[in-house]
Amino acid sequence: MASRPRTLYEKIWDDHVVERRDDGTCLIYIDRHLVHEVTSPQAFEGLRAAGRRVRRPDLTLAVPDHNLPTTPRLDADGRRLPIADPESAQQLAALEANTAEFGIRYIDAVAPEQGIVHVVGPEQGFTLPGTTLVCGDSHTSAHGALGALAFGIGTSEVEHVLATQTLLLQQAKTMEVRVDGTLGFGVYAKDVVLAIIGRIGAAGGTGHVIEYTGDVIRAMSVEGRLTVSNMSIEGGARAGLIAPDETTYAYLRGRPMAPAGEVWDKALAWWRGLPSDPGARYDRTVTLAASDIAPSLTWGTSPEDVVAVTGRVPDPDSFADPAKREAARKSLDYMGLTPGTAMQDVAVEHIFIGSCTNSRIEDLRAAAAVARGRHVASGVRQALVVPGSGLVKRQAEAEGLDRIFTEAGFEWREPGCSMCLAMNPDKVPPGERCASTSNRNFVGRQGPGARTHLVSPASAAAAAIAGRLADVRDYVKEGAEI
């Protein structure tokens, strides 16, 4: 086996096979497990009912994020403020009680490290190259940015991992998505991944693990890579992967849960052997040229409904596939858009800068560069900036980004999933429109009847200033520090 050139995916897979069954299914060992409050209560309940224990509590890390309101969590005297919604409060209390009962590390809602699971994992060095990492959340694909085979699982699988530290899986097909060249000015990681999904479609990666390659990916920071890999699932792929390199190692070194000292050197030697071998074959390859990628956004209710910011709302009749025509008609009806309208003529009432896709420090810097010295347009009813973790928040405050945002009329919030999904108090009201840096523009995702346009953080800030969807290149000067 060692002689055949293998892809990064195949190497990680081979390293984690506990047993191969006759039917081709493999029992795969899971190195890291992230847990949050929404998809875990029924799993812990199942363990309790069957009298089972958690096999490796030391490989599991829990943090609340989805339900948590993003308003202040402590009063002026440092006392914890109650959570108004009784169901949310119950779910959060259940996570705290379950992790205590089963001996799992738990980052409390008011701890400085608290944040969105997919921001916390890499930030703490919990996510490492060459590992298998799972979480009861589909955007677990994000962690693939560090070269971890990371994917979302359902609650029964959460229970299976807690009890056995393994999963029964079938090997996926591989798909290379290569982005060659150099990105143009005003084009960010988010635009790259939107362009990719626009190309392959929302089901394009089904059954595959995507490996992102090419100059553009190599030149990206780990934060940009996290944005790209995060949205692999929106292209149908359960996992995305990016080969670890010097950028990855520099990012990880010194993180609290990353190896240190001699063990670091050992790990590093192992990691250097992970990238796909020359001549390794993928089942499919898709190539994009960086020069074809513009600042992008979505017009419909599927993440594949992508158009350049300079483009127009498409005419449903322009689609060849009858099912797509029908879907486009329904989408435009829901979105309240007329074919042929210039995207930049579409007014927005809400701005959301946050979510596990775009809430890291570089995202906030890019948005702040646009917001600096300007003001949110009068037609915008709410503009939220929600850092991905307490550590991101502190860093941003140390850099003065919070003041740039608040002076421009944005709200500066506590970390959490916030307006990415309608589970906590941050929602977009029915019929209103939001330029959002999150990952899903599904019907009702940001609230019943809410209309979502997915954009990059810089584009979201530009939309806030313009009061309409806007071209970020009109707001930042080329060559200016972003």
């Binding site: 506990v18 047993e19 039917d23 081709g24 299914t25 029992l27 060992y29 929404v38 998809t39 209560p41 029924q42 309940e45 089972r52 339900n67 919604d85 949310s88 119950q90 779910q91 490492l128 590992t131 009861g136 959340d137 589909s138 677990t140 994917f151 979302g152 699982i153 359902g154 609650t155 029964s156 699988e157 229970e159 299976h160 009890a163 056995t164 530290q165 393994t166 029964l168 079938q170 929302a202 089901a203 089904t206 149908g236 063990v263 670091w264 050992k266 790990a267 192992w270 099912a323 797509k324 029908e326 879907a327 999904l421 309608a422 589970m423 899903r440 599904f442 009702g444 995702r445 019943p448």
Partner: protein, 192 residues
């Protein structure tokens, strides 16, 4: 989990493409710590339309749902499978499923049946007025009109469905192999 060998009866002739799990069960229904009662929230936004399929008396309580490409895409929430199960759906027929959803479906005794678009189109037509049968024994979908479509499902999943197996129990029985793997890793990759 209950064993399932065949599902027979009326089917919701829906056919919608890219049905995401936010549509199957909106997020606000996820604030529960139980698996029960999720059917009340199933397809909540679709049901706002008075003419919707799910409240049409002809199809009420159907054990089969026929949908379009990429069914169950989006969030990993198993609540989507619980919601379908709670409303009585035991099989979903579609040209393709999201990977996470089909796994969740099987773990809850729901059969994900993948058929080519032409077959699905035919079934959408038939199901308007007639029943459909999904048989795991013969791996076929049949109608009263001699339609017979063969589908595939990986043998392990099929076995789990047909015998109602407890996967965790099965894996726990492999404890020795798992412990052996763990000791080997401790040697070669001590940072884990």
């Amino acid at each position: 989990m209950e064993a399932v060998t065949a599902v027979s009866g009326s089917a919701y002739p829906w056919g919608a493409k890219n049905v995401d799990t936010d549509v199957i069960i909106p997020a606000h229904w996820l604030k529960t710590i139980s698996r029960q009662g999720m059917g009340r929230g199933a397809f909540e936004t679709v049901r706002k339309d008075p003419a919707n399929l799910f409240d049409d008396p002809r199809y009420a309580g159907s054990p089969i749902l026929i949908a379009g490409d990429n069914f169950g895409c989006g969030s990993s929430r198993e609540h989507a499978a619980w919601a379908l199960g709670d409303m009585g759906v035991q099989a979903v027929i579609a040209p393709s499923f999201s990977d996470i959803f089909s796994g969740n479906a099987v773990k809850n005794g729901i059969v994900p049946v993948v058929l080519p678009q032409e077959a699905v189109d035919r079934l959408l037509e038939v199901a308007k007025d007639h029943p459909v049968t999904v048989d795991l024994e013969t791996m076929t979908v049949t109608t009263p009109f001699q339609d017979r479509f063969v589908f595939e499902l990986d043998p392990f999943r099929r076995d789990c469905l047909m015998r109602g197996l407890d996967e965790i129990g099965l894996t726990l029985a492999r404890d020795t192999a798992i412990s052996k793997y763990e000791s080997a890793v401790e040697e070669t990759r001590p940072w884990l």
